[in-house]
């Protein structure tokens, strides 16, 4: 029950998606469609699972007064704030005439709703800034690692150097004495269009083969690590 049924489901669904590619005839098309709708629902629940897990852990931390339980409380408070804004706003915001309650509720992220306020003034600055700090880290990584310590490292350095210069207009301006067609941006374009594409293709083929064989093992049921050890 615990291992066999999941294995059968994986094989069945995997095989269906493969065979559907080659067989246009019904009932395969409809079966794939139905399976796809279900997966959309399951994936949505999987995201909820992550969220509930987070709440559970934070709750435990607060309950046991673990180190940093105050921050866990802030996590739960901000979760509640935005969720209430998302789910309960239909009660305090005026309904457009003619809308049913559910139609009204579905406008939860319209401009001007409290949910949109959280999105624009809390979620957006936090997530954007978190991502933006990468600008600092990429500079320090370049400084530290782009050193001509060996032939390989020099190739890495040169490719990075030329592409960096070629990405901004100032690169061409600095080396404007280079002949037409051999400007820094031209060389950078050449590098990213040819040697880089070649290298990527080689990597991609290897990865594709790896994914194919892993998928095959999953469908055949010989790869079982995703089921975990127990039961």
């Amino acid at each position: 029950m615990r291992r066999e049924i999941p294995l059968i489901i994986t094989s069945f669904v995997g095989f269906l998606f493969v065979i559907r590619f080659f067989i246009p005839h019904e009932p395969f098309a409809s079966m794939e469609n139905t399976a796809s709708s279900w997966i959309q629902v399951i994936k949505a629940f999987a995201i909820w699972l992550g969220i509930l897990n987070l709440l559970k852990i934070s709750g435990e931390k607060i309950y046991k007064k673990d180190k940093g339980w105050g921050f866990a409380a802030i996590v739960i408070a901000s979760f509640l704030a935005i969720s209430i804004a998302g789910f309960f706003f239909p009660f305090w915001e005026t309904r457009t005439p003619g809308d049913s309650f559910i139609e009204h509720a579905r406008k939860f992220q319209y401009p001007g709703t409290s949910f949109d306020w959280f999105y624009t003034y809390v979620y957006t600055p936090l997530s954007s800034t978190m991502f933006a700090t990468l600008a600092f880290f990429i500079a320090s990584a370049a400084f530290r690692a782009f050193r001509a310590r060996s032939f390989q490292a020099t190739l890495l350095l040169l490719a990075g150097f030329i592409v960096m210069l070629g990405s901004v207009p100032v690169g061409n301006a600095l080396f404007s004495w280079l002949p037409q067609g051999w400007q820094v941006s031209d060389i950078a374009d050449w590098i990213k269009n040819y040697p880089q594409v070649a290298g990527q293709r080689a990597i991609q083929i290897g990865i594709a083969l790896g994914i194919i064989s892993t998928s095959l093992r999953l469908i055949l049921g010989v790869e079982r690590s995703h089921l975990g050890g127990e039961g």
Binding site: S30, S128, T129, T133, L155, A198, T214, S215
Partner: protein, 233 residues
């Protein structure tokens, strides 16, 4: 204005991390974790579960009558509506992972997702990243270029060299990823050329990324200086 100030302080709070880990950063981080969890919690409900589940079953169906009529008419969704209840059951099974004793039941829906991913990937990778790439890797090593009807030597050599670089890069790269033979002798040498190509690939990818990361910070600075503090015109 109050809103912008809150956004501004949150921005500065996160940015302070690059100097040093500090309590203000921890505070912003906790708010972030909570708000983003809540954001997904709400969006998933309205944008995925309502249309894919309750609308199709008919609980909130007054909105999608025409959609349902469409299904009945074309039969493109061959299953009757109640079939979608199975999806709901599978979804709830997923959540049972939270209960330690019966957590194993989540393997059923998980198997569903894994099966579909495996099936789609098996064909997708083969089609897009292998078959299509073989076709694209077949390049003429001598690629004559004609300008106004006559052979242009410089352009021909240029194009041919480029093609040679492409083919050499792909093939030596593939040799590097060959695991059945040790990297020795000629084979090892070829693999080494493959590494050089990989190095150029990584260097170029890194170089291109710098732009991207700088863009992100420019976006934030634009917000701080223009939208919040009105220092920019």
């Amino acid at each position: 204005m109050v809103s912008l100030t809150i956004a501004g302080f949150l921005t500065l709070g996160i940015m302070s991390f690059v100097y040093k880990d500090n309590p203000v950063y921890k505070l912003c981080e906790s708010i972030f974790i909570g708000v983003s969890a809540g954001y997904y919690f709400v969006s998933i409900f309205y944008q995925s579960l309502l249309p894919q589940l309750t609308d199709k079953i008919g609980i909130t169906g007054e909105l999608s009558d025409s959609a349902l009529a469409y299904y009945r008419e074309t039969g493109s969704l061959a299953s009757p509506q109640w079939f979608n209840l199975i999806a709901a059951v599978l979804g709830v099974m997923m959540l049972l992972r939270l209960v330690p004793k019966i957590g194993w039941i989540a393997r059923w829906p998980l198997a569903f997702v894994i099966g579909s991913t495996a099936g789609l990937r098996l064909i997708g990778e083969l089609q897009t990243n292998i078959m299509a790439q073989i076709q694209k890797s077949i390049l003429p090593l001598w690629d004559p270029q004609y300008i106004d009807g006559s052979l242009n030597m410089a352009a021909s050599v240029g194009h041919s060299l480029t093609n040679i670089v492409m083919v050499a890069g792909i093939l030596t790269g593939v040799v590097y990823f060959f695991f059945s033979k040790e990297h020795k002798g000629v084979f090892g040498g070829t693999a080494k050329v493959g590494i050089w190509f990989l190095m150029v690939t990584f260097g170029a990818a890194f170089g291109l990324t710098v732009m991207s990361r700088m863009s992100l910070l420019i976006g934030r600075l634009d917000f701080l200086l223009r939208d919040w503090l009105h220092l920019l015109g």
